[in-house]
Symmetry: C2
Subunit: 349 residues, 2 copies
DNA sequence: TTGAAAGCGCTAACAC
DNA sequence: GTGTTAGCGCTTTCAA
């Protein structure tokens, strides 16, 4: 027994052609479902494919077509993190993420395009990532970037790879993106709190280096101002439950009379609920709470959260659509698609 | 202006060789860091690479090396799900998942191996997946399979692709896997509850078509029996918080005197806590609760959970190690690695 | 409608 | 230590 016996070569087009008694070109046409192949020959070839167990070699195919049939989903996060750091936990644990993937897959799968998940949480991994992408592993990139001064969007533009962002970039650069009307969403939360007659409203914002956080904070303050509330104190969180809990405590210490809260996402709202609960403050009795996202955290918390819903799946699907379009065009036009949020009323406000 | 001007060809080895005034082979040697290249020539070539902005074409490289430098992380789930179904949400939301990815990346990244995330939640997507894998997109696969009669493990064996499972397969087949000593973990929970003097202990199990669920249930019952408790009622959940909440209600209705609970994972324990809270039952005062996983849910819940910790990151890293080893060997030996769980004591028991 | 043949860009013998 | 050369398996003109 020799090594050659143990590792049989996978069948190639050539093998199938030999079995079917036709040329490689014809087999290729059948496999790729090109028209202009005689029905009878097609059938013979298909039988030969089945018999040999032929599967096309993707590398060979990409080499000539210059297409891989895959796109990357890149999740990028600020430097200064390590593996011990809960970065990955935070990203994947965020109920947000599953819905994004779900929306993307729903448009990719029918078109037989695959999703490659890539993470970039250090500068090292970021340049490694760019190298990987430039090597032609994927046809395009969907980028979820979680902080403002992320160099990745610009790097991707430079690389020439079709790219779509999940949010408006923090600085104006020529790149397509999908977003929700953040101001409008924050306004919805403000209106709800004002309607309930809240007099002392505060907010827990997201990290202020993210455009989404800025927009939600500004949008909320502007809307409260329209309701006559000139001053809305805020504490900055980082979108985790822990940070929400801590921020709520801080707010309570400084403004004991708070009777309304807007948290920039559901996870922080959930944390706030915990802090409120620990101090024996009734929700919505003494403090009304509104979240943002309508994630699974909204229904899991006690009481269930009134929250601003963004159509995450639809937005993610739009990202994928946009990317696929960009890949097919030669000179894609930079495009934005903005979705409208809605208010979902539950028990917390 | 012609189309040719707009889409300049990416530089190839040939281009670099011309600029550096050497042969393609030499450039290849430099790029791949092969020894036996004169220091001075190496520098000239590196300069040429920088000047041309050369990046190796992965397809061409794979075609000859028969290596892709990527491995797949496949998450497989039972049929009968659709996109509206929270499958994706469930998988990614599970705090467990982020830690798995984190552990895997920690060994893949230093070896410059990439992770391709793939989902298989319908039979269609399962065969599509196998096709994709057989096309040589990846060098091996890490499989996280969430139900018993999953055909994927066998399909993968058949495909000849190096594969490592995250759990012992439900039927004995020749495939490598990593697991935690489930019996031991469940025994730890039982010991804790028995030590506290619980007299009427119940358990919420995972889906009974999963070996892990079976092992935890059996292990728990055996250990309780050793403490003299002949009968331990159980209700089946599906590892979600909701199912835990519901199961707890059911248990309470049928056995009002319950004073100890073992939930087969933290998420269900958290749900149980909610149900207990809703009925005004104090934890751990009237009912002591032990979870399993030591996920972030354990610290997020009120009270924080006493729970069985599995070293998820280490286990995931071991999976990646094992897979890389399999990829390097020609005839890998089927291997198992079992990790020891520990008890983490917090407030709930 | 089918076949012949020319590469796609790279690595790896094998010479020199 | 370096260059020459033969493919890897596939798609795609171009002829027939």
């Amino acid at each position: 027994m020799t090594a050659d016996d143990d590792i049989p070569r996978a069948p190639t087009l050539e093998d199938v052609a030999r079995v079917a008694g036709v040329s490689r070109a014809t087999v290729s046409r059948v496999v790729n479902d090109t028209r202009n192949v005689d029905r009878r020959i097609r059938e013979v070839v298909q039988a030969a494919v089945a018999q040999t167990g032929y599967v096309p070699n993707q590398a060979a195919r990409s080499l000539v077509t210059r297409r891989t049939g895959s796109v990357a989903l890149v999740v990028s996060e600020a430097e200064h993190r390590s593996f011990d750091d809960p970065f990955l936990g935070r990203v994947f644990t965020d109920p947000f993420f599953g819905r994004v993937v779900s929306g993307i897959i729903s448009v990719l799968r029918p078109r037989a395009v695959n999703l490659v998940l890539m993470l970039a949480e250090t500068n090292d991994s970021r340049s490694q990532l760019i190298d990987y992408l430039r090597q032609g592993h994927v046809d395009g990139v969907l980028l979820i970037s979680t902080h403002a001064d992320d160099p990745l969007p610009s790097m991707l533009i430079e690389s020439g790879l079709p790219t779509v962002l999940s949010r408006r970039p923090s600085t104006p650069i020529p790149i397509s993106y999908v977003d929700v009307a953040q101001h409008v969403g924050a306004g919805l939360a403000a209106d709800r709190l004002a309607e309930r007659g809240c007099q002392q409203v505060a907010t827990i914002s997201g990290p202020m280096d993210m455009p989404a956080s800025q927009d939600r904070l500004n949008g909320f303050r502007e809307a409260m101002a329209r309701h006559g509330h000139a001053f809305v104190p805020s504490v900055e969180g980082n979108f985790t439950q822990d940070s929400g809990e801590q921020a709520m405590r801080e707010l309570l210490d400084r403004y004991p009379d708070i009777d309304g809260l807007f948290a920039a996402n559901d996870l922080m709202a959930q944390g706030a609920l915990l802090a409120l609960h620990d101090r024996g403050i009734a929700v919505p009795g003494r403090v009304a709470v509104v979240g943002f996202d309508d994630s699974s955290a909204a229904t899991a918390s006690r009481p269930p959260l009134t929250t601003v819903r963004q159509p995450i799946e639809d937005m993610a699907a739009a990202m994928a659509d946009l990317l696929l379009a960009h890949i097919d065009e030669r000179q894609p036009r930079v495009t934005s698609r903005i979705f409208e949020p809605t208010l979902v009323v539950r028990d917390s406000a």
